[in-house]
Symmetry: C2
Subunit: 343 residues, 2 copies
DNA sequence: GGACGAACCCGAAACGTTTCGGAAAAGATA
DNA sequence: TATCTTTTCCGAAACGTTTCGGGTTCGTCC
């Protein structure tokens, strides 16, 4: 391994000057800078990360901590996250460390330990809960982080998020505008921050239209096909009034709903209208539904670049203002919505 | 962050002695060792990885480099690898770094660069090709590594592998023993080391039984359901003599084969016998096939522990003999094999 | 009582980098 | 000529750890 010393010796310069040349400091002549960079490349020099971290506090390594979930990797979503973030950071010359916790391990000590070893520059936090304790913890620890989503009262940290409240409002409002009043919502697992935001948007739309809020029509659970199916069956087999439309938290839930409705002998959109939010996960396409699914669309894969940007910015000490970003979503109308059948 | 200096000061000891106490060196009294360890825990001390790496060359970080494959994460297999290795290394107090390369990026410079930054203690190599250049490269670089599989002439490196040659022999031989002569093999992508080993076992079994080798019956390709289906269709629609039995490289291929056979109006095992190797991937169970699938069984998930063991051993400088391990497989006879129908 | 060994301990150097404080040389200003 | 700037450079310290080569006690053995 070539070191600064080797370069310095071969150019008859001091180690200091070589370091400054490589890091584009001001007080090194243009000529020296070029000579240094040329020989560094020639000698195949790569700065020793440990040495750099020791003195400057920067290693260029960021981490993601996730629990070993039972269905981790069942759906391709986690892979999407890992591959997306990893390649984004690689592209910035940074390293991405994945740390998988044991199933029921409490997360805070894990972060504590990782911070203790002074290896990482920062963390990416995904799947924040309402008032997520990790956020307070990392803030207190004084280490950089970025959240995929928002959580808590005071949002004084870097994040990338989409307007979950608004998109749930839009989906619900779209149905209300066509005359639906009994609108079900197949939402995600309660406690997740984005799930609560979406619930809020759903309720706001109902309230604005003066439609009744029927608690039995709001279901929380895994966002997979199985729960879309069982949830829909439940919606139509209970004592509560049957919905005429369903808002689904993602396309997988919608797929389950379609199957359940088919099994129940109900047609889409003739008997029941269905809308969903579409993360554009690779395995399932909303446009390939029959009838094609009306959605709000915000590809998950568009998250990794801003997340990496924000974390890199936070580590570099940039001001917070530029590190809080919102992704756009679009409303795509297809063929899964019609006015409610005359009761 | 508490450092050695803090502990030393609070116990009125030298930094040296504290370091030796924590690392269980010989010349520190039992009493001191306990006192030191107690206060280290109390002060929430974690050794600074960078400092340690700088002087001792050990960071406790290992890496896995994978190309951003088009269907990465489609099947759960990659996630299985990442989660398995990550939790194994976490359990050993080590860190696991995942580095995803761009699709067509040449791998050697990536390893070069990672080695150059002197951060990692070693690598896990998966999916080795025949005569994989990465092995030579890492060997020459003098960095520790472990291979999931074996490749090349001289196997003088740590590995964990299963007897791919023998299991392909066993599967083929099982069919030959029941009278089959025209046996097809749906194998993986050519060039992969384990694919070549299995091909060798298949050919050895044919040769030993004096059965003809019909090149058209040996198919290479992706090991997924789609290729199982199209491959099987091809086997039965060409000009070559039709097989009476199929050996599948994994259960996914077998699933595709079952579907194709059903579509062709052929029954298993009445018209065609099917056997496969079963990695026990989480999504698909060989026992749930109808008829239940006869397999050689070697759960992929049993690989991560020995792989981590071997790499940790290699880093610790243990002798090679204990770092070359073979996994066992078992032969599980179910209902997918019968004698060939009288032609 | 001197030599020896065992048990326990410590100072200092080293790893490769960044950065602080200053210094030399050259040109500009007085 | 003396002083001040600007440009370009350098020595030395620091980060937190491991490890080398010692050192000091204390008891034991001749």
């Amino acid at each position: 391994m070539a070191t600064l010393k080797d370069i310095a010796r071969s150019l008859d310069l001091s180690i200091t000057q070589v370091s400054r040349a490589l890091n584009d400091h001001s007080d090194v002549s243009e000529e020296t800078r070029l000579r240094v960079k040329a020989t560094a490349r020639a000698m195949n020099y790569h700065p020793n990360v440990s040495a750099r971290k020791l003195v400057s506090g920067r290693s260029g390594i960021v981490g993601l901590v996730v629990p070993q979930h039972r269905n981790i990797g069942q759906d391709g979503i986690f892979m999407e996250v890992v591959a997306g973030l990893s390649s984004q950071f690689s592209g910035r010359g940074m390293q991405f460390v994945l740390h998988i916790m044991a199933e029921q391990e409490p997360p805070l000590p894990v972060y504590q330990k990782l911070i203790g070893t002074a290896l990482l520059d920062g963390f990416v936090l995904i799947d924040p809960m309402d008032r997520d304790p990790r956020i307070d913890f990392l803030r207190r620890a004084g280490i950089a982080f970025v959240v995929h989503g928002r959580s808590g009262e005071t949002i004084d940290y870097p994040y990338f998020d989409i307007e979950n409240e608004q998109l749930a409002y839009d989906l619900t409002e779209h149905l209300l505008a066509r005359g639906h009043r009994r609108i079900a919502f197949l939402n995600g697992i309660a406690g997740r921050s984005y799930v609560s935001r979406r619930e809020a948007g759903y309720l706001r739309a109902l309230r604005a239209a003066g439609a009744p809020h029927i608690p039995e029509l709001h279901l929380n659970g895994d966002m997979d096909e199985a729960h879309g199916l069982t949830g829909t069956i439940r919606l139509f087999s209970g004592t509560a009034p049957r919905p005429t439309a369903i808002v689904c938290g993602n396309v997988r839930l919608a797929r389950g709903a379609y199957q359940a409705l088919a099994a129940l002998g109900l047609s889409v959109p003739g008997d029941v209208s269905v809308v969903a939010h579409d993360d554009e996960l690779p395995t399932l396409r909303a446009s390939a539904f029959f009838p094609a699914l009306t959605v709000t669309r915000a590809p998950l894969r568009d998250s990794w670049e801003p997340l990496a940007d924000c974390l890199a910015g936070a580590i570099a000490g940039k001001p917070l203002a530029g590190l809080q970003r919102l992704g756009q979503y679009s409303f795509i109308e297809r063929n899964s919505v019609a006015p409610p059948a005359a009761a």
